[in-house]
Protein backbone atom coordinates (compact mmCIF):
# COMPACT_ATOMS: atom_id res chain seq x y z
CA UNK A 1 0.00 0.00 0.00
CA UNK A 2 2.51 2.56 1.12
CA UNK A 3 6.18 2.46 0.17
CA UNK A 4 8.64 0.94 2.61
CA UNK A 5 8.51 3.40 5.50
CA UNK A 6 11.68 5.21 6.49
CA UNK A 7 13.14 3.59 9.54
CA UNK A 8 10.94 4.76 12.42
CA UNK A 9 12.83 5.83 15.51
CA UNK A 10 10.59 4.46 18.23
CA UNK A 11 10.34 1.07 19.87
CA UNK A 12 7.67 -1.46 18.93
CA UNK A 13 5.72 -3.99 20.98
CA UNK A 14 5.61 -7.36 19.27
CA UNK A 15 4.87 -10.98 19.94
CA UNK A 16 8.27 -12.44 19.22
CA UNK A 17 8.95 -16.01 18.23
CA UNK A 18 11.82 -17.94 19.72
CA UNK A 19 13.93 -19.19 16.83
CA UNK A 20 16.54 -20.88 18.97
CA UNK A 21 17.35 -21.39 22.62
CA UNK A 22 20.80 -22.60 23.53
CA UNK A 23 22.38 -23.25 26.87
CA UNK A 24 25.98 -22.00 27.11
CA UNK A 25 27.49 -22.33 30.55
CA UNK A 26 25.05 -20.92 33.08
CA UNK A 27 23.28 -18.75 30.50
CA UNK A 28 20.50 -19.33 28.05
CA UNK A 29 21.10 -17.67 24.67
CA UNK A 30 17.80 -16.90 22.98
CA UNK A 31 17.41 -15.87 19.36
CA UNK A 32 14.15 -14.06 18.67
CA UNK A 33 12.26 -13.07 15.56
CA UNK A 34 10.99 -9.71 16.76
CA UNK A 35 10.21 -7.65 13.66
CA UNK A 36 11.11 -4.01 13.99
CA UNK A 37 13.26 -4.44 17.10
CA UNK A 38 16.62 -5.43 15.68
CA UNK A 39 16.39 -2.99 12.78
CA UNK A 40 16.46 -0.04 15.15
CA UNK A 41 19.03 -1.35 17.58
CA UNK A 42 22.12 0.56 18.74
CA UNK A 43 24.70 -0.87 21.15
CA UNK A 44 23.37 -0.30 24.66
CA UNK A 45 19.71 -0.52 23.80
CA UNK A 46 17.61 -3.24 25.36
CA UNK A 47 14.29 -5.03 25.17
CA UNK A 48 11.59 -5.46 27.81
CA UNK A 49 10.11 -8.91 28.16
CA UNK A 50 6.66 -9.66 29.56
CA UNK A 51 6.78 -12.74 31.75
CA UNK A 52 4.22 -15.46 31.01
CA UNK A 53 1.46 -15.80 28.44
CA UNK A 54 -1.07 -12.98 28.02
CA UNK A 55 -4.20 -13.74 30.03
CA UNK A 56 -2.35 -16.09 32.35
CA UNK A 57 0.10 -13.50 33.50
CA UNK A 58 0.52 -12.86 37.22
CA UNK A 59 3.96 -11.21 37.14
CA UNK A 60 3.38 -7.77 35.74
CA UNK A 61 6.74 -6.01 36.04
CA UNK A 62 8.81 -6.17 32.93
CA UNK A 63 12.29 -7.67 32.72
CA UNK A 64 14.91 -5.83 30.74
CA UNK A 65 17.53 -7.66 28.65
CA UNK A 66 20.38 -6.21 26.65
CA UNK A 67 20.28 -6.79 22.93
CA UNK A 68 23.33 -8.98 22.49
CA UNK A 69 23.45 -9.47 18.75
CA UNK A 70 21.39 -8.55 15.74
CA UNK A 71 21.78 -10.60 12.60
CA UNK A 72 19.95 -11.93 9.58
CA UNK A 73 18.86 -15.50 10.00
CA UNK A 74 16.64 -17.66 7.81
CA UNK A 75 13.99 -15.39 6.35
CA UNK A 76 14.41 -12.83 9.10
CA UNK A 77 16.21 -9.59 8.37
CA UNK A 78 17.25 -8.78 11.91
CA UNK A 79 16.90 -11.40 14.61
CA UNK A 80 17.70 -10.35 18.15
CA UNK A 81 19.65 -12.46 20.58
CA UNK A 82 19.54 -12.17 24.36
CA UNK A 83 21.74 -13.66 27.06
CA UNK A 84 19.61 -14.73 29.99
CA UNK A 85 21.06 -15.47 33.41
CA UNK A 86 18.34 -17.51 35.13
CA UNK A 87 18.41 -16.00 38.61
CA UNK A 88 14.75 -15.48 39.51
CA UNK A 89 11.22 -16.35 38.38
CA UNK A 90 11.16 -14.04 35.35
CA UNK A 91 14.55 -14.89 33.94
CA UNK A 92 14.04 -18.61 34.64
CA UNK A 93 10.77 -18.54 32.70
CA UNK A 94 12.47 -16.81 29.80
CA UNK A 95 15.50 -19.10 29.89
CA UNK A 96 13.15 -22.09 29.74
CA UNK A 97 11.58 -21.08 26.42
CA UNK A 98 12.46 -23.07 23.37
CA UNK A 99 12.11 -22.94 19.61
CA UNK A 100 8.59 -21.98 18.50
CA UNK A 101 7.58 -20.41 21.84
CA UNK A 102 6.23 -16.88 21.87
CA UNK A 103 7.11 -13.98 24.09
CA UNK A 104 5.90 -10.37 24.22
CA UNK A 105 8.81 -8.04 23.69
CA UNK A 106 9.12 -4.26 23.48
CA UNK A 107 12.16 -2.65 21.98
CA UNK A 108 14.62 -1.37 21.25
CA UNK A 109 14.37 0.66 24.44
CA UNK A 110 16.48 3.32 26.05
CA UNK A 111 16.76 7.03 25.48
CA UNK A 112 20.56 6.92 25.37
CA UNK A 113 22.70 4.14 24.02
CA UNK A 114 26.52 4.12 24.11
CA UNK A 115 27.99 7.24 22.50
CA UNK A 116 30.95 6.59 20.21
CA UNK A 117 34.07 8.76 20.31
CA UNK A 118 34.76 10.96 17.29
CA UNK A 119 38.49 10.20 17.33
CA UNK A 120 40.08 6.73 17.11
CA UNK A 121 41.06 6.73 20.79
CA UNK A 122 41.83 3.65 22.89
CA UNK A 123 38.80 2.38 24.81
CA UNK A 124 38.17 -0.11 27.59
CA UNK A 125 34.93 -2.11 27.78
CA UNK A 126 34.04 -3.61 31.16
CA UNK A 127 31.29 -6.15 31.72
CA UNK A 128 30.22 -8.63 34.34
CA UNK A 129 28.22 -11.80 33.81
CA UNK A 130 25.29 -11.61 31.40
CA UNK A 131 25.58 -7.82 31.54
CA UNK A 132 28.56 -8.10 29.22
CA UNK A 133 26.03 -8.82 26.45
CA UNK A 134 25.83 -5.32 24.93
CA UNK A 135 29.60 -4.89 24.79
CA UNK A 136 30.26 -7.13 21.79
CA UNK A 137 28.19 -5.12 19.30
CA UNK A 138 29.72 -2.01 20.82
CA UNK A 139 33.22 -3.38 20.31
CA UNK A 140 32.47 -4.00 16.62
CA UNK A 141 31.32 -0.42 16.16
CA UNK A 142 34.36 0.94 17.95
CA UNK A 143 36.65 -1.19 15.85
CA UNK A 144 35.02 0.15 12.70
CA UNK A 145 36.14 3.55 13.96
CA UNK A 146 39.68 2.31 14.46
CA UNK A 147 39.50 2.57 18.23
CA UNK A 148 41.84 0.07 19.90
CA UNK A 149 39.43 -2.01 22.02
CA UNK A 150 40.45 -3.57 25.34
CA UNK A 151 37.99 -5.84 27.11
CA UNK A 152 37.74 -6.55 30.81
CA UNK A 153 35.25 -9.31 31.51
CA UNK A 154 34.30 -10.54 34.96
CA UNK A 155 32.07 -13.21 36.42
CA UNK A 156 31.49 -15.32 39.50
CA UNK A 157 32.97 -18.33 37.71
CA UNK A 158 33.70 -19.64 34.25
CA UNK A 159 30.09 -20.73 33.66
CA UNK A 160 28.96 -17.12 34.11
CA UNK A 161 31.59 -15.66 31.82
CA UNK A 162 30.27 -14.50 28.47
CA UNK A 163 32.01 -15.50 25.23
CA UNK A 164 35.66 -14.92 26.08
CA UNK A 165 36.56 -16.62 22.80
CA UNK A 166 34.51 -14.22 20.73
CA UNK A 167 36.02 -11.42 22.76
CA UNK A 168 39.52 -12.32 21.59
CA UNK A 169 38.39 -11.97 17.99
CA UNK A 170 37.24 -8.38 18.36
CA UNK A 171 39.48 -6.94 21.04
CA UNK A 172 43.16 -6.09 21.10
CA UNK A 173 43.47 -7.38 24.67
CA UNK A 174 41.11 -9.37 26.83
CA UNK A 175 41.44 -9.52 30.59
CA UNK A 176 39.32 -11.93 32.58
CA UNK A 177 38.54 -12.03 36.30
CA UNK A 178 36.49 -14.61 38.16
CA UNK A 179 35.65 -14.60 41.82
CA UNK A 180 36.56 -18.27 42.22
CA UNK A 181 39.59 -18.12 39.95
CA UNK A 182 38.19 -20.83 37.64
CA UNK A 183 39.46 -18.77 34.73
CA UNK A 184 41.54 -15.60 34.51
CA UNK A 185 42.66 -13.65 37.53
CA UNK A 186 41.04 -14.62 40.80
CA UNK A 187 39.13 -11.73 42.40
CA UNK A 188 36.60 -8.99 41.72
CA UNK A 189 36.51 -7.34 38.29
CA UNK A 190 36.91 -3.89 39.76
CA UNK A 191 40.31 -4.77 41.24
CA UNK A 192 41.81 -5.01 37.73
CA UNK A 193 40.44 -1.68 36.51
CA UNK A 194 43.38 0.62 37.39
CA UNK A 195 45.86 -1.69 35.70
CA UNK A 196 43.78 -2.16 32.52
CA UNK A 197 43.14 1.57 32.24
CA UNK A 198 46.83 2.38 32.63
CA UNK A 199 48.02 -0.27 30.16
CA UNK A 200 45.48 0.71 27.51
CA UNK A 201 45.78 4.45 27.94
CA UNK A 202 42.00 4.51 27.55
CA UNK A 203 40.23 7.77 26.80
CA UNK A 204 36.78 6.27 27.30
CA UNK A 205 35.60 3.42 29.52
CA UNK A 206 32.31 1.69 28.70
CA UNK A 207 30.69 -0.56 31.28
CA UNK A 208 27.62 -2.70 31.86
CA UNK A 209 26.93 -4.59 35.03
CA UNK A 210 25.69 -4.32 38.57
CA UNK A 211 25.71 -0.92 40.24
CA UNK A 212 28.77 -1.49 42.47
CA UNK A 213 30.91 -2.35 39.42
CA UNK A 214 29.64 0.69 37.54
CA UNK A 215 30.43 2.90 40.49
CA UNK A 216 33.96 1.48 40.59
CA UNK A 217 34.31 2.11 36.85
CA UNK A 218 33.17 5.72 37.18
CA UNK A 219 35.67 6.27 39.98
CA UNK A 220 38.57 4.55 38.23
CA UNK A 221 37.89 6.44 34.99
CA UNK A 222 37.91 9.72 36.84
CA UNK A 223 41.21 8.85 38.56
CA UNK A 224 42.65 7.92 35.20
CA UNK A 225 41.33 11.05 33.45
CA UNK A 226 39.01 9.15 31.11
CA UNK A 227 35.31 9.52 30.33
CA UNK A 228 33.03 6.75 31.45
CA UNK A 229 29.76 5.58 29.94
CA UNK A 230 27.89 3.19 32.19
CA UNK A 231 24.85 1.10 31.26
CA UNK A 232 22.66 0.77 34.33
CA UNK A 233 20.87 -2.47 35.13
CA UNK A 234 18.57 -1.08 37.84
CA UNK A 235 15.06 -2.54 38.14
CA UNK A 236 12.73 -1.29 35.41
CA UNK A 237 9.11 -2.12 36.24
CA UNK A 238 7.82 -0.93 32.85
CA UNK A 239 11.09 -0.21 31.00
CA UNK A 240 9.22 2.11 28.62
CA UNK A 241 9.32 5.40 30.53
CA UNK A 242 5.69 5.25 31.61
CA UNK A 243 5.80 4.58 35.37
CA UNK A 244 8.66 6.64 36.84
CA UNK A 245 9.67 3.52 38.74
CA UNK A 246 13.38 3.49 37.87
CA UNK A 247 14.80 6.63 39.50
CA UNK A 248 18.48 7.44 39.13
CA UNK A 249 19.88 10.46 40.97
CA UNK A 250 22.17 12.48 38.69
CA UNK A 251 23.83 15.87 38.44
CA UNK A 252 22.71 17.79 35.38
CA UNK A 253 24.93 19.72 32.98
CA UNK A 254 23.96 22.78 34.99
CA UNK A 255 25.37 21.20 38.15
CA UNK A 256 21.90 20.85 39.66
CA UNK A 257 20.88 17.52 41.17
CA UNK A 258 17.86 15.82 39.67
CA UNK A 259 16.33 12.40 39.23
CA UNK A 260 16.05 10.75 35.83
CA UNK A 261 14.42 7.53 34.68
CA UNK A 262 16.98 4.83 33.99
CA UNK A 263 14.92 3.38 31.16
CA UNK A 264 13.99 6.63 29.41
CA UNK A 265 16.90 8.99 30.04
CA UNK A 266 19.37 6.10 30.28
CA UNK A 267 20.20 3.30 30.45
CA UNK A 268 23.62 4.64 29.44
CA UNK A 269 24.72 7.59 31.54
CA UNK A 270 28.00 9.37 32.01
CA UNK A 271 29.61 7.87 35.10
CA UNK A 272 30.54 11.26 36.51
CA UNK A 273 26.91 12.40 36.31
CA UNK A 274 25.46 9.68 38.54
CA UNK A 275 25.14 10.44 42.25
CA UNK A 276 26.25 6.95 43.21
CA UNK A 277 25.85 7.33 46.95
CA UNK A 278 22.17 8.22 46.52
CA UNK A 279 21.45 5.35 44.13
CA UNK A 280 19.81 2.55 46.04
CA UNK A 281 20.88 -0.91 45.01
CA UNK A 282 18.31 -3.72 45.07
CA UNK A 283 18.95 -5.89 48.12
CA UNK A 284 20.70 -8.76 46.39
CA UNK A 285 21.97 -7.09 43.24
CA UNK A 286 24.82 -8.86 41.58
Amino acid sequence: MSPEPTRPAGPVHVLAEVLAGKRIGAFSHLTLAAPGVGERHRPGSFVAVSVGAPGERTRLARRAFWIHQVRALGGHAATVSLVVDPVGPGSRWLAGLSRGDRVEVTGPLGGRAFALPKEPVPVVLVGEGAHSAPLFALAERLRERDCPVHLLLGAADEAHLLSALEARRIARTVTVATLDGSVGVKGPTAALLPDVLRRSGAAVVYAAGPVPLLHAVARAAEDHGAWSQVALGVPTPCATGLCHGCPVPVVGEDGVGRTVRACAEGPVLRGDRVRWDDLSVPGDAS
Binding site: H13, A34, T106, P237, T240, H244, G245, S280
Partner: protein, 319 residues
Protein backbone atom coordinates in the same frame (compact mmCIF):
# COMPACT_ATOMS: atom_id res chain seq x y z
CA UNK B 1 -20.16 -0.64 19.20
CA UNK B 2 -18.62 2.27 21.04
CA UNK B 3 -17.64 5.33 19.06
CA UNK B 4 -17.17 8.83 20.47
CA UNK B 5 -18.60 9.28 23.95
CA UNK B 6 -19.77 12.21 26.02
CA UNK B 7 -17.97 12.56 29.32
CA UNK B 8 -18.64 15.47 31.66
CA UNK B 9 -19.88 17.55 28.73
CA UNK B 10 -16.86 16.77 26.56
CA UNK B 11 -17.00 14.72 23.40
CA UNK B 12 -14.19 12.16 23.44
CA UNK B 13 -13.00 10.11 20.49
CA UNK B 14 -13.00 6.92 22.53
CA UNK B 15 -14.23 5.79 25.95
CA UNK B 16 -10.71 4.63 26.78
CA UNK B 17 -8.56 7.02 28.80
CA UNK B 18 -4.94 6.67 29.82
CA UNK B 19 -4.97 6.54 33.64
CA UNK B 20 -2.99 9.00 35.69
CA UNK B 21 0.65 8.16 36.24
CA UNK B 22 0.71 5.32 33.70
CA UNK B 23 1.47 7.16 30.48
CA UNK B 24 4.78 8.82 31.33
CA UNK B 25 4.95 12.36 30.00
CA UNK B 26 2.97 11.24 26.95
CA UNK B 27 5.98 11.31 24.68
CA UNK B 28 6.93 7.74 25.57
CA UNK B 29 3.42 6.41 24.95
CA UNK B 30 3.03 8.30 21.67
CA UNK B 31 5.58 5.97 20.09
CA UNK B 32 3.11 3.07 20.18
CA UNK B 33 -0.10 4.77 19.02
CA UNK B 34 -0.99 8.42 18.40
CA UNK B 35 -2.29 10.06 21.56
CA UNK B 36 -5.46 10.99 19.65
CA UNK B 37 -6.35 7.27 19.83
CA UNK B 38 -7.39 7.73 23.44
CA UNK B 39 -10.46 9.49 24.76
CA UNK B 40 -8.08 11.47 26.94
CA UNK B 41 -4.61 11.38 28.37
CA UNK B 42 -4.73 11.86 32.13
CA UNK B 43 -1.38 13.21 33.31
CA UNK B 44 0.45 11.97 36.35
CA UNK B 45 -0.57 14.04 39.35
CA UNK B 46 0.85 17.57 39.13
CA UNK B 47 1.56 19.65 42.23
CA UNK B 48 2.20 23.36 42.71
CA UNK B 49 5.96 22.94 43.10
CA UNK B 50 8.29 20.37 41.57
CA UNK B 51 8.73 17.02 43.33
CA UNK B 52 11.64 14.65 42.75
CA UNK B 53 9.54 11.62 43.71
CA UNK B 54 10.17 9.07 46.44
CA UNK B 55 12.97 6.61 47.04
CA UNK B 56 13.43 3.34 45.14
CA UNK B 57 11.87 0.86 44.93
CA UNK B 58 8.84 2.74 43.71
CA UNK B 59 7.06 -0.08 41.90
CA UNK B 60 7.03 -3.73 42.95
CA UNK B 61 5.23 -6.81 41.76
CA UNK B 62 2.63 -8.63 43.81
CA UNK B 63 0.56 -11.52 42.46
CA UNK B 64 -1.43 -10.19 39.48
CA UNK B 65 -0.80 -6.69 40.75
CA UNK B 66 1.64 -3.85 40.95
CA UNK B 67 2.41 -2.00 44.17
CA UNK B 68 3.47 1.58 43.65
CA UNK B 69 4.52 4.61 45.64
CA UNK B 70 6.14 7.02 43.27
CA UNK B 71 5.98 10.08 45.52
CA UNK B 72 4.43 12.05 42.65
CA UNK B 73 7.54 12.95 40.64
CA UNK B 74 6.56 15.99 38.57
CA UNK B 75 8.07 19.27 37.40
CA UNK B 76 5.53 21.46 39.22
CA UNK B 77 2.66 23.48 37.75
CA UNK B 78 4.64 26.18 35.95
CA UNK B 79 7.16 23.92 34.25
CA UNK B 80 4.41 21.43 33.38
CA UNK B 81 2.35 24.13 31.67
CA UNK B 82 5.39 25.45 29.84
CA UNK B 83 6.74 22.16 28.48
CA UNK B 84 4.79 18.94 28.95
CA UNK B 85 1.30 20.33 28.39
CA UNK B 86 1.99 21.99 25.02
CA UNK B 87 3.82 18.86 23.88
CA UNK B 88 0.81 16.72 24.77
CA UNK B 89 -1.57 19.03 22.93
CA UNK B 90 0.70 19.09 19.93
CA UNK B 91 0.83 15.30 19.92
CA UNK B 92 -2.94 15.29 19.53
CA UNK B 93 -3.89 14.36 23.09
CA UNK B 94 -7.08 15.42 24.81
CA UNK B 95 -5.45 16.43 28.08
CA UNK B 96 -6.90 15.89 31.53
CA UNK B 97 -4.53 17.21 34.17
CA UNK B 98 -4.47 15.33 37.46
CA UNK B 99 -3.78 17.57 40.46
CA UNK B 100 -3.26 17.32 44.21
CA UNK B 101 -2.06 19.65 46.92
CA UNK B 102 -0.99 19.99 50.52
CA UNK B 103 -4.05 22.03 51.43
CA UNK B 104 -7.38 23.19 50.06
CA UNK B 105 -5.76 26.53 49.22
CA UNK B 106 -2.92 24.87 47.34
CA UNK B 107 -5.31 22.71 45.32
CA UNK B 108 -7.22 25.87 44.41
CA UNK B 109 -4.00 27.57 43.37
CA UNK B 110 -2.96 24.70 41.08
CA UNK B 111 -6.41 24.53 39.50
CA UNK B 112 -6.51 28.29 38.97
CA UNK B 113 -3.13 28.07 37.25
CA UNK B 114 -4.49 25.40 34.92
CA UNK B 115 -7.66 27.40 34.32
CA UNK B 116 -5.51 30.18 32.85
CA UNK B 117 -3.66 27.78 30.55
CA UNK B 118 -4.98 26.67 27.20
CA UNK B 119 -4.99 23.02 26.25
CA UNK B 120 -6.54 21.68 29.46
CA UNK B 121 -9.72 19.78 28.56
CA UNK B 122 -10.54 18.85 32.15
CA UNK B 123 -9.00 18.63 35.59
CA UNK B 124 -8.90 15.39 37.58
CA UNK B 125 -8.68 15.93 41.30
CA UNK B 126 -6.69 13.10 42.89
CA UNK B 127 -8.63 12.43 46.09
CA UNK B 128 -7.41 8.87 46.51
CA UNK B 129 -3.64 8.64 46.45
CA UNK B 130 -2.64 5.64 48.57
CA UNK B 131 0.87 7.02 49.03
CA UNK B 132 -0.40 10.52 49.81
CA UNK B 133 1.34 10.61 53.16
CA UNK B 134 4.73 9.94 51.58
CA UNK B 135 3.98 12.38 48.80
CA UNK B 136 2.85 14.99 51.32
CA UNK B 137 -0.53 15.74 49.78
CA UNK B 138 -4.01 15.67 51.27
CA UNK B 139 -6.52 13.02 50.42
CA UNK B 140 -9.83 13.26 52.26
CA UNK B 141 -11.12 10.41 54.38
CA UNK B 142 -14.49 11.97 55.11
CA UNK B 143 -17.09 12.95 52.52
CA UNK B 144 -17.37 16.54 53.79
CA UNK B 145 -13.65 16.99 53.10
CA UNK B 146 -14.17 15.62 49.59
CA UNK B 147 -16.92 18.17 49.01
CA UNK B 148 -14.72 21.01 50.26
CA UNK B 149 -11.79 20.13 48.05
CA UNK B 150 -14.01 19.68 45.01
CA UNK B 151 -15.81 22.98 45.65
CA UNK B 152 -12.50 24.81 45.96
CA UNK B 153 -11.29 23.35 42.67
CA UNK B 154 -14.53 23.82 40.72
CA UNK B 155 -14.67 27.48 41.82
CA UNK B 156 -11.47 28.15 39.87
CA UNK B 157 -12.56 26.55 36.61
CA UNK B 158 -14.17 28.38 33.72
CA UNK B 159 -17.35 26.95 32.21
CA UNK B 160 -16.57 24.19 29.76
CA UNK B 161 -13.63 22.82 31.74
CA UNK B 162 -15.16 20.10 33.90
CA UNK B 163 -13.79 18.65 37.11
CA UNK B 164 -13.37 14.89 37.47
CA UNK B 165 -13.07 13.65 41.04
CA UNK B 166 -10.99 10.51 41.49
CA UNK B 167 -12.34 9.00 44.71
CA UNK B 168 -11.31 6.13 46.96
CA UNK B 169 -12.01 2.78 45.31
CA UNK B 170 -13.40 1.13 48.46
CA UNK B 171 -16.72 -0.36 47.24
CA UNK B 172 -18.37 0.37 50.60
CA UNK B 173 -17.35 4.00 50.94
CA UNK B 174 -17.03 5.02 47.29
CA UNK B 175 -20.77 5.88 46.98
CA UNK B 176 -20.74 8.46 49.77
CA UNK B 177 -17.55 10.05 48.42
CA UNK B 178 -19.03 10.06 44.92
CA UNK B 179 -22.16 11.85 46.15
CA UNK B 180 -20.02 14.28 48.13
CA UNK B 181 -17.92 15.04 45.06
CA UNK B 182 -20.94 15.59 42.83
CA UNK B 183 -22.56 17.80 45.45
CA UNK B 184 -19.34 19.81 45.42
CA UNK B 185 -19.67 20.32 41.66
CA UNK B 186 -17.74 17.44 40.08
CA UNK B 187 -19.07 16.64 36.61
CA UNK B 188 -17.73 13.09 36.75
CA UNK B 189 -16.30 10.67 39.26
CA UNK B 190 -13.40 8.35 38.54
CA UNK B 191 -13.97 5.17 40.48
CA UNK B 192 -11.58 2.37 41.22
CA UNK B 193 -8.07 3.79 41.49
CA UNK B 194 -5.28 2.05 43.29
CA UNK B 195 -6.26 0.27 46.50
CA UNK B 196 -4.52 1.37 49.70
CA UNK B 197 -1.82 -1.22 50.34
CA UNK B 198 1.71 -1.58 51.65
CA UNK B 199 5.11 -2.64 50.37
CA UNK B 200 6.64 -5.62 52.19
CA UNK B 201 8.61 -3.14 54.31
CA UNK B 202 5.40 -1.45 55.42
CA UNK B 203 5.68 1.72 53.33
CA UNK B 204 2.34 2.99 52.08
CA UNK B 205 1.66 2.06 48.47
CA UNK B 206 -1.20 1.62 46.04
CA UNK B 207 -2.18 -1.74 44.58
CA UNK B 208 -3.22 -1.79 40.92
CA UNK B 209 -3.70 -4.31 38.17
CA UNK B 210 -5.91 -7.37 37.64
CA UNK B 211 -5.70 -8.13 41.37
CA UNK B 212 -8.01 -5.17 42.07
CA UNK B 213 -10.31 -5.55 39.07
CA UNK B 214 -13.22 -7.22 40.88
CA UNK B 215 -13.13 -4.56 43.63
CA UNK B 216 -13.18 -1.80 41.04
CA UNK B 217 -16.11 -3.30 39.18
CA UNK B 218 -18.11 -3.55 42.39
CA UNK B 219 -17.25 0.04 43.33
CA UNK B 220 -18.37 1.31 39.93
CA UNK B 221 -21.69 -0.51 40.18
CA UNK B 222 -22.28 0.80 43.73
CA UNK B 223 -21.48 4.38 42.71
CA UNK B 224 -23.72 4.28 39.65
CA UNK B 225 -26.60 2.96 41.73
CA UNK B 226 -26.06 5.41 44.53
CA UNK B 227 -25.87 8.49 42.30
CA UNK B 228 -29.01 7.31 40.58
CA UNK B 229 -30.91 6.84 43.83
CA UNK B 230 -29.80 10.25 45.05
CA UNK B 231 -30.95 11.81 41.78
CA UNK B 232 -27.45 13.18 41.15
CA UNK B 233 -26.33 13.55 37.57
CA UNK B 234 -22.67 12.83 36.94
CA UNK B 235 -20.72 10.55 34.69
CA UNK B 236 -18.71 7.65 36.03
CA UNK B 237 -15.28 6.61 34.76
CA UNK B 238 -14.34 3.06 35.69
CA UNK B 239 -10.75 2.25 36.51
CA UNK B 240 -8.80 -0.55 38.12
CA UNK B 241 -7.28 -3.63 36.60
CA UNK B 242 -8.70 -3.11 33.13
CA UNK B 243 -6.47 -5.09 30.78
CA UNK B 244 -8.77 -6.48 28.10
CA UNK B 245 -11.70 -5.42 25.94
CA UNK B 246 -13.94 -7.65 28.07
CA UNK B 247 -12.79 -5.87 31.25
CA UNK B 248 -13.63 -2.52 29.69
CA UNK B 249 -17.03 -3.75 28.50
CA UNK B 250 -17.83 -4.97 32.00
CA UNK B 251 -17.30 -1.43 33.34
CA UNK B 252 -19.39 0.12 30.57
CA UNK B 253 -22.12 -2.44 31.22
CA UNK B 254 -22.01 -1.51 34.90
CA UNK B 255 -22.85 2.06 33.97
CA UNK B 256 -19.50 3.74 33.43
CA UNK B 257 -19.36 5.99 30.36
CA UNK B 258 -15.61 5.63 30.03
CA UNK B 259 -12.74 3.60 31.42
CA UNK B 260 -9.18 4.47 32.39
CA UNK B 261 -6.43 1.98 31.66
CA UNK B 262 -3.42 2.20 33.94
CA UNK B 263 -0.99 -0.50 34.90
CA UNK B 264 -1.87 -2.68 31.89
CA UNK B 265 0.19 -0.15 29.93
CA UNK B 266 3.23 -0.93 32.01
CA UNK B 267 3.22 -4.55 30.84
CA UNK B 268 2.06 -3.75 27.31
CA UNK B 269 2.32 -0.15 26.11
CA UNK B 270 -0.22 -0.90 23.38
CA UNK B 271 -2.87 -2.17 25.83
CA UNK B 272 -5.06 0.95 25.91
CA UNK B 273 -4.94 1.44 22.14
CA UNK B 274 -5.80 -2.21 21.68
CA UNK B 275 -8.78 -1.90 24.03
CA UNK B 276 -9.94 1.28 22.29
CA UNK B 277 -9.72 -0.51 18.98
CA UNK B 278 -11.57 -3.54 20.36
CA UNK B 279 -14.39 -1.42 21.73
CA UNK B 280 -14.78 0.34 18.38
CA UNK B 281 -15.61 -2.98 16.74
CA UNK B 282 -19.26 -4.11 16.99
CA UNK B 283 -19.78 -6.51 19.86
CA UNK B 284 -20.15 -10.09 18.78
CA UNK B 285 -22.22 -12.65 20.66
CA UNK B 286 -20.29 -13.90 23.67
CA UNK B 287 -17.81 -16.58 22.62
CA UNK B 288 -17.94 -19.89 24.39
CA UNK B 289 -14.18 -20.03 24.75
CA UNK B 290 -12.20 -17.47 26.74
CA UNK B 291 -12.54 -13.92 25.42
CA UNK B 292 -10.41 -13.56 22.29
CA UNK B 293 -8.14 -10.89 23.73
CA UNK B 294 -6.94 -13.34 26.37
CA UNK B 295 -5.48 -15.64 23.83
CA UNK B 296 -5.22 -13.13 21.09
CA UNK B 297 -1.70 -12.73 19.97
CA UNK B 298 -2.90 -11.10 16.76
CA UNK B 299 -2.96 -7.74 18.52
CA UNK B 300 0.75 -7.86 18.81
CA UNK B 301 1.37 -10.10 15.88
CA UNK B 302 4.60 -9.31 14.10
CA UNK B 303 2.80 -8.36 10.88
CA UNK B 304 1.02 -5.54 12.67
CA UNK B 305 3.98 -4.34 14.61
CA UNK B 306 4.93 -1.76 12.05
CA UNK B 307 1.46 -0.29 12.00
CA UNK B 308 0.59 1.03 15.39
CA UNK B 309 -1.25 4.03 13.94
CA UNK B 310 -5.03 3.92 14.04
CA UNK B 311 -5.30 4.90 10.37
CA UNK B 312 -3.75 1.57 9.53
CA UNK B 313 -6.01 -0.19 11.93
CA UNK B 314 -9.16 1.33 10.51
CA UNK B 315 -8.06 0.37 7.05
CA UNK B 316 -7.45 -3.16 8.16
CA UNK B 317 -10.70 -3.41 10.09
CA UNK B 318 -13.36 -5.44 8.37
CA UNK B 319 -15.91 -2.59 8.33
Amino acid sequence: MTGPVRLAGLTLASPVLVASGCGGTGRELAGYAPLSTYGAFVTRTITLTARPGGPAPRVLESPAGLLHATGLPNPGLTAFCATELPALVQAGARVVVSVAGESVAEVAEVVSGLARTSGVSAVELALSLPDAEVAGVRTPREPFATTRLVEAAVAQLPPGVPLLAKIWPDPVRAPEHARAAVEGGAAAVVVGGAQPAAFPDGRHAGLSGPAVAPLALRAVAEVVKSLDLAGLRADVVGCGGIATVADARAHLDAGAVAVAVGSALLTDPTAAARIAEGLAVPERPAPEKPAPEHAAPEHVAPEQAEHPAPEHRTQEDPA
